[in-house]
């Protein structure tokens, strides 16, 4: 409680209306505008721009990873092919994994969440807009860092899980693994700062009245993933850093000859790696939980169970990592425990699956393109989850592990639970992002081609695995019984790729010539549909007051106390401002000052990334110089600013201001 209402340090927030075209709204637009041209491009902190950048960059990596896969499928279509040398194949399969799992799967979901969170939560931006920009730049530079090695034929080649001693300096002498190790540490910084941003945004920046039980499931999914990242990313960064030390400075962490333990790598990697796979699917499941009900014309069945199951899955996800190590010779007791937890973890997923099916059953489905993706996703989710249950059985995993059965499982869960919801999500939110509708006919074609191609390409992998085909082999003998399934897989992969191509054509064509989109073309319930398509830079002309989980469906549903107020709310236009609320009840708590556009994130991202380039090349002086530059950028960024009310208003300081 403040003593007096000092205007720079406290005030009563004004309420009112700011309809489009009014003086207030014009002023708001000017306050939040980004400079045009390259200046704005480098300095913007608008979460919508950053979200779209994430989406586009992640999709580019998806295409790169897909091309890598198609080349591999050409090599494996027939036995004993010589299209690729073993080294080329090993770099391709490693980079395919690295690209898809690290450069596509999470960044694409970060893109959706970055764009949508403030719109869904009723805020003008994320909690840390400059940090948001930094996380994108670091992601982009880390991706470039990892890929710069490819044209030189030095791409990482130890598999994406990079087991030692194969990746130690004795057996992998080139810079390939150093690229991977340092690139991952750099990418880890991006992931961590992004996650911190999501967590603080969720707890601080919701619209008043949006209590914790009213946020969309996508928000629950991303929040859960972000909390997990904060705990999980450090262990993989540490593991890669220790590997880099072993390789460059002769330390002995993983060096079996000198007391180090190769198994330590597996523990550290999977303690990160398993939570990571839930990180890359839980937000996508949230996309479905939010968008599917729109096309069932009713709210999601079991909001609370689904939100709780999201958190339960993530929590259990920290207790199953040994299931990637069942064949390492650990004691049967440990294996039994982790086998049991690995089965139990499918129970929260069952909650979600039945919730989605019930929502469809009790609703009135609209069979348009996004709906098809979400309905197809449910089937693929179930297949992926069930093959996972099979691998969770320890003795069965002794057979299935490291065969194509696991490859089938992981692709069903990764494509089924990430890619299909993502593409469906693009069909759903494209009108909001760009103000145009995607073509519906082409959309339906792209779904069916993708769905059929995917199943043709990946279902036979279960069979190949049961027939004993190991993973990560660049070729195979002709009479192992694997010829037919491999041919089908390769054909299916190309069909699936064609489906992706149709989707891309749809996107590119509709950007120019799609039908103009209204504010709420799907008659959906959540807040992002209560503003123009695309939204203005400031998102909300007034911060709304929320009374239910489905603000735009209040004409039909009676949920909360009264009606949400969307046209009248908090004006907050003394500069870039938004409202901070209490964590659970979302009562107004503080007026937050948002930063202007800034070049500091770009310079910090660039100099930070160049530190790693220096380390890779053993240019220690250069690395030190870049560290100093990064330090300066960071200090400039953090310098207390009056505009953000981080320091007191200028009072001429007398000597010894001690008695003010």
């Amino acid at each position: 409680m403040t003593d007096r209402t000092d205007s720079p340090l406290a005030r009563i927030p004004e309420t009112g209306r700011a309809p489009s075209g009014s003086d207030a709204e014009t002023r708001l637009a000017r306050l939040w505008a980004t400079e045009p041209g390259w200046r704005g491009w480098l300095s913007t902190v608008d979460h919508k721009t950053i979200g779209l950048r994430y989406l586009v960059t992640a999709f580019l990596f998806l295409l790169l990873g897909g091309i890598e896969a198609l080349i591999m499928r050409l090599q494996l279509a027939r036995p004993d092919q010589t299209l690729l040398t073993p080294e080329q194949y090993n770099q391709l399969f490693t980079m395919h994994g690295v690209t898809m799992i690290f450069l596509y799967a999470l960044p694409v979901l970060s893109g959706f969440s970055n764009y949508l969170w403030p719109l869904m939560l009723g805020s003008r931006d994320m909690a840390f807009p400059r940090l948001n920009a930094l996380s994108y730049w670091l992601f982009l530079f880390a991706g470039i860092f990892l890929y710069a090695s490819f044209p030189l034929g030095q791409a990482p080649n130890g598999g994406w899980f990079n087991y030692v001693p194969l990746t130690d300096r004795l057996y992998d002498t080139g810079p390939n693994i150093d690229v991977y190790a340092l690139g991952m540490v750099l990418l880890g910084i991006s992931t961590t700062v992004g996650s911190v941003n999501f967590i603080v945004t969720l707890f601080r920046l919701r619209a008043p009245g949006m209590s914790i039980g009213r946020v969309p499931i996508l928000v629950w999914g991303t929040l859960t993933a972000s909390v997990a990242n904060v705990f999980a990313v450090p262990v993989v960064s540490l593991a890669f850093f220790m590997l880099w030390l072993d390789r460059q400075f002769g330390t002995h962490f993983f060096d079996a000859v000198n007391g180090g333990k190769p198994l330590l790598w597996q523990h550290l990697f999977w303690m990160f790696g398993h939570p990571w796979v839930y990180v890359v699917v839980l937000p996508a499941m949230g996309i479905v939980s939010d968008a599917l009900p729109t096309f069932c014309r009713r709210p999601l069945v079991g909001y609370a169970p689904v939100a709780l199951s999201t958190m339960a899955t993530m929590l259990l996800g920290f207790g199953v990592w040994i299931h990637h190590m069942f064949a390492t010779g650990l004691p049967a007791l440990a294996l039994s425990f982790f086998g049991a937890t690995s089965m139990v973890i499918s129970i929260p997923s069952a909650v979600a699956v039945f919730a989605w099916i019930a929502t469809i059953w009790l609703g009135r489905p609209v069979f348009n393109t996004p709906f098809l993706f979400f309905a197809g996703f449910v089937l693929l989710f179930v297949i992926g989850g069930l093959s996972g249950v099979m691998t969770a059985a320890v003795p069965l995993d002794f057979q299935l592990n490291e065969t194509y059965f696991v490859v089938a499982h992981l692709h069903y869960v990764l494509l089924g639970i990430n890619v299909f919801p993502v593409v469906g999500g693009i069909y759903y939110w494209f009108p909001k992002f760009f103000g145009r509708m995607l073509n519906e006919t082409l959309g339906k074609w792209s779904f069916w081609v993708m769905f059929i191609g995917f199943n043709a390409g990946f279902f036979p992998m279960h069979i190949a695995g049961l027939l004993g085909m190991p993973r990560r082999v660049y070729t195979y003998a002709p009479n192992m019984g694997w010829n037919t399934v491999n041919l089908i897989m390769s054909v299916g992969a190309f069909v699936f790729a064609f489906g992706i191509l149709l989707f891309l054509v749809n996107v590119l064509a509709s950007l120019r010539r799609g039908a103009p989109a209204a504010e709420n073309p799907w008659a959906a319930p959540t807040l992002e549909w209560a503003m123009p398509s695309p939204p203005p830079a400031y998102n909300f002309a007034v911060i709304p007051i929320i009374a239910s989980r489905h603000p735009l469906w209040e004409d039909w549903l009676t949920e909360g106390e009264g009606r949400s107020s969307l046209e009248t709310g908090y004006l907050l236009m003394e500069g870039r401002e938004t409202l901070g609320t209490t964590p659970l009840e979302a009562r107004p708590d503080i007026i937050l000052k948002m930063p202007e556009d800034s070049y500091a994130p770009f310079f910090l991202g660039l100099s930070g990334s160049l530190i790693f380039a220096g380390l890779l090349l053993h240019a220690w002086g250069f690395a030190g110089l870049m560290a100093a530059a990064a330090g300066l950028a960071l200090i400039a960024w953090l310098w207390p600013s009056r505009a953000l009310a981080q320091r007191v208003p200028a009072i001429k300081p007398d000597k010894g201001v001690a008695h003010v």
Binding site: T2, P8, L9, A10, I12, P13, T15, A127, V196, V200, R204, G209, V230, F231, V233, P234, V235, S237, L238, M242, L245, F249, G250, T251, H252, F253, D255, N258, G259, G260, K261, L264, M271, I545, A547, G560, E561, G562, S564, S565, G580, P588, D589, I590, I591, L592, K593, L638, P640, L644, A645, Q646, R647, V648, I651, G656, V657, A658, H659, V660
Partner: protein
């Protein structure tokens, strides 16, 4: 709902104490960095528990210097706390003096740690124990160095009159970072210096 709209109470603006965005950001940073040290110490125990040679290979670690350093770091935390308290009570000179004392003590910690490193006969490639020792203490030292830079900046900003009794969120936030570094040291000290005597 309408009672939310009808506010006669003014709301604070900007970075106000523990409502500041930076406070929440720092807490998240502490969780993630704390996790990092947790995994480092896990690696130490994992490798130490399976060591077939004598552990530590050069005998039990000497406690004298490290204990002194622990006391120095704890004292510096005390001065940081005092500095913030003085600022809250608008006793600017005392605040500056406290912060300066904390920085000097922190610098002493760094110098003494470097001295301990010099004293070790071999480097981190010599054997596994040294790999762990230098990496763990090195990570901590890096965090201390960053902390010293932070404290210097806070000293500078306080001297420039940026903060007063009501607004000094960066001092609070930077102070908690320093306390975090101190707590981490207690864990590192216990692991590296005390546990060999117990097992």
């Amino acid at each position: 709902m309408s009672e939310i709209m009808r506010l006669d109470k003014p709301l604070p603006i900007g970075s106000e104490g523990k409502r500041a965005g930076g406070w929440w950001g720092l807490l998240a940073l502490i969780v993630t960095e704390g996790a990092l040290f947790g995994y480092l110490l896990f690696s130490y125990f994992y490798l130490a528990s399976q060591a077939r040679q004598h552990w530590p290979p050069e005998g039990l670690p000497p406690l004298g210097t490290a204990s002194l350093n622990t006391a120095i770091l704890l004292a510096s935390s005390g001065f940081v706390w005092a500095g913030e308290r003085c600022l809250r009570r608008r006793r600017l000179q005392w605040s500056l003096a406290s912060m300066a004392a904390a920085i000097l003590l922190g610098a002493a910690f760094v110098l003494i740690q470097f001295g301990e490193w010099e004293h070790k006969h071999y480097d981190m490639a010599a054997h596994l124990y040294n790999s762990l020792y230098f990496t763990i203490t090195g990570f901590h030292l890096l965090h201390v160095a960053v902390g010293l830079v932070i404290l210097l900046l806070l000293l500078l900003w306080t001297a420039l009159g940026y903060f007063d009794g009501r607004r000094h969120a960066p001092v609070t936030i930077g102070g908690v970072y320093w306390h975090f570094v101190d707590v981490v040291w207690l864990f590192v000290f216990t692991t590296l210096y005390l546990t060999p005597y117990l097992f």
